[in-house]
Symmetry: C2
């Protein structure tokens, strides 16, 4: 064990700490665990011939998701991006609106805004949660917007800021109290991007259930997977009905007639993928326990390593620890790519945070506030191998 | 057997003919057949843990599709609507363009046009193919458009007509020679909507391979299914590369960096669904043989029934007979709903053609030509139970 030793480099110490936490590898960033009824349900689905947009597993997956998250309605869709697209449409986002999103997010958050014809408006993060800094957002809204006919208007562009999308980065809940209050005071709808935070709780309540709507993702790299999949969460029955309508081509119910009453989407989750989801959801408590155990191992392994620390769940929150995340100390930015190289070379798949949205050529002209914290974080964050299988727990 | 009898009503005779062709029912409109390696490949997919956007079945499914259709490149996506959306974008369709589509089509064709910010421009059908009437289209283009800087401009709206989408209705190939010539002469890109015509050939060549790009669908009601799925077909390597890039969030290849160079989409077919597709594609020749045998049975059963006929493949074409289709004789329009009621009441799931696009409230103001034939067809077409399992063939 060389961790903490002064004669080794930081990248070497990181590699050693990872090895002491999870063994010698190789380890990918995140792979799913199929140890329950996955095969049984897939087979049942195939035997029923109901593999597509209608079937008992889609309905059950929605019921199971609603029960797990404590929300009244869940609508299953093909992926998290589709969920966000429809949630934004239902929040009233239209062409030439602006939608506030963190600069530090996966590109799907920004893409979904553009699918509505709207423009992302980029917001800074706070170090504590990695998510939107609600105080900074409130100050910014006070200085840069005005209320016109009950709408929040960006004074610089003249466009309506229709919604804000807090994203729970790597599974860590954002400051929802602060954010909801600011959004309320400035008449901005809240759509939570909980793609990464299934199993994460803010003050005891599941993330994705605080805003007007929340969205989940079940991509292959998520805590549970349906191959590809997502869901919209809401307590509002009318919104849930409309979400289901829009995601199933807006077809009106009829024994044989094919009539649609608005522009709809082919976004329904296939029953085959929902079957996998039902089995995965049964495993979720064990998967969450594994990910917490894995965090504790990393936490212990990195405690003696000077210059880095593990990102832990915010106070009064419970994170799902979807992606285990290392934060380099301020001043250590130059070590990031060296650590990425050393760890990947050692067989431990690691990656930095996403390139910030305003650093992508096609989003560089989006309106934004000062993004100093997001910029600093993006140069210091490193995701570590995070699969639940690295620290198995049987419940 | 009462078929052809003068004392019974047309709806009764239709029910009798269906019963003599496929037995006593009940029969749904279309259900998939899983009789090959479906289980095996799904299990293999699960065991590999590669169920999501990366995996060997996605690559294999694309190769198999390209080989089967005789095209150079196939790009697998989440569904036929997504395939059409991306193909239109790559054909250069932009906001405020117009795209010509048949009025007689499933709503996805029109929806995909709107996702590009463009407007559907509705075209009439011919009785022979049920698809776009190429001669009528050519006459219309001559009268109503002009060429400006090499673009076809709708004189009435001033908008560019960027593309035309021939759709091979229920699997019957449209008049591609006439259509391609007209599109060529008027500088309009051709994107084939071959969602319904996997296994259908025009003059010996597979549908979906004639235009700049073609699109397929593997929804649960199609000839083969992946639960939900679709594909883009093209001979152009650069278009295929761009299609794959756009459908995988436009992420640039890199060992760890998440950088995207344009607005992308989360449209990749999951490996789980592709595994099902690989197994289904192996069964396709047998499924096509079954559907042809089923057509012949219906053809024989309906031959003596006055006032209706089965829609047969156009000359020099080979249809997949995806949906078996009855056409009421002109003058028998009032029988349609009576036939639908009688057949559904007898346990045979039947349905009319889709409500025409200009009869949907949100598309009623789209530009259109005279649509007399489509209107007549839509009042006379009835789809019959069409599952391959109704006439099993083992090859």
């Amino acid at each position: 064990m060389k961790s903490g030793g002064l004669l080794t480099t930081l990248p070497d110490r990181v590699v050693d700490a990872i090895r002491s936490a999870i063994g010698s590898g190789p380890s990918v960033l995140h792979e799913p665990t199929f140890s329950g009824n996955e095969w049984l349900y897939l087979k049942e689905c195939l035997d029923s011939t109901f593999v597509s947009s209608v079937g008992k597993f889609v309905d059950r997956f929605e019921d199971d998701l609603a029960r797990f998250t404590g929300v009244k309605h869940a609508v299953a869709v093909v992926n998290g991006t589709a969920a966000l697209h429809i949630a934004l449409k239902l929040a009233g986002v239209k062409a030439d609106d602006e939608v506030m999103i963190p600069a530090l997010t996966f590109v799907a958050t920004a893409n979904a805004v553009t699918y509505c014809g709207a423009t992302p408006h980029l917001v800074d993060s706070e170090v504590r949660t990695l998510g939107i800094d609600a105080d900074k957002l409130r100050d910014y809204l006070r200085e840069h917007t005005e209320q016109r006919a009950g709408q929040c208007v960006n004074r610089a562009t003249g466009r309506v800021i229709r919604a804000v999308i807090p994203m729970h980065t790597f599974g860590h809940p954002v400051d929802l109290d602060g954010l909801l209050a600011a959004a309320h005071d400035y008449n901005i709808a809240v759509v939570e991007d909980a793609a990464e935070s299934l199993g994460s709780y803010y003050h005891g309540r599941h993330t994705g259930t605080f805003g007007l709507m929340g969205t989940l993702s079940f991509n292959g790299n998520k805590t549970i997977t349906t191959g590809g999949g997502g869901a919209i969460l809401t307590d509002d029955a009318a919104l849930a009905r409309h979400a289901k309508h829009l995601t199933t081509t807006a077809k009106l119910p009829h024994a044989w007639e094919y009539r649609h009453d608005e522009i709809g989407y082919n976004y329904r989750l296939p029953n085959l993928n929902a079957a996998l989801g039902c089995a995965q959801l049964e495993q979720l408590p064990a998967l969450l326990a594994s990910k917490r155990k894995l965090f504790e191992r990393y936490q212990a392994a990195f405690a003696p390593v000077v210059g880095v620390r593990m990102v832990a769940e915010p106070e009064a929150c419970r994170s799902n620890y979807w992606l285990q995340t290392l934060l380099l100390a301020a001043g250590q930015e130059s070590q990031r790519d060296l650590v990425l190289k050393a760890t990947n070379a050692a067989g431990f798949m690691t990656r930095p945070a996403w390139v910030l949205m305003h650093e992508l050529a096609h989003f560089k002209d989006c309106p934004c506030m000062d993004l100093a914290v997001a910029e600093s974080l993006s140069r210091r964050l490193i995701n570590l191998p995070s699969s639940a299988g690295l620290a198995p727990v049987a419940l």
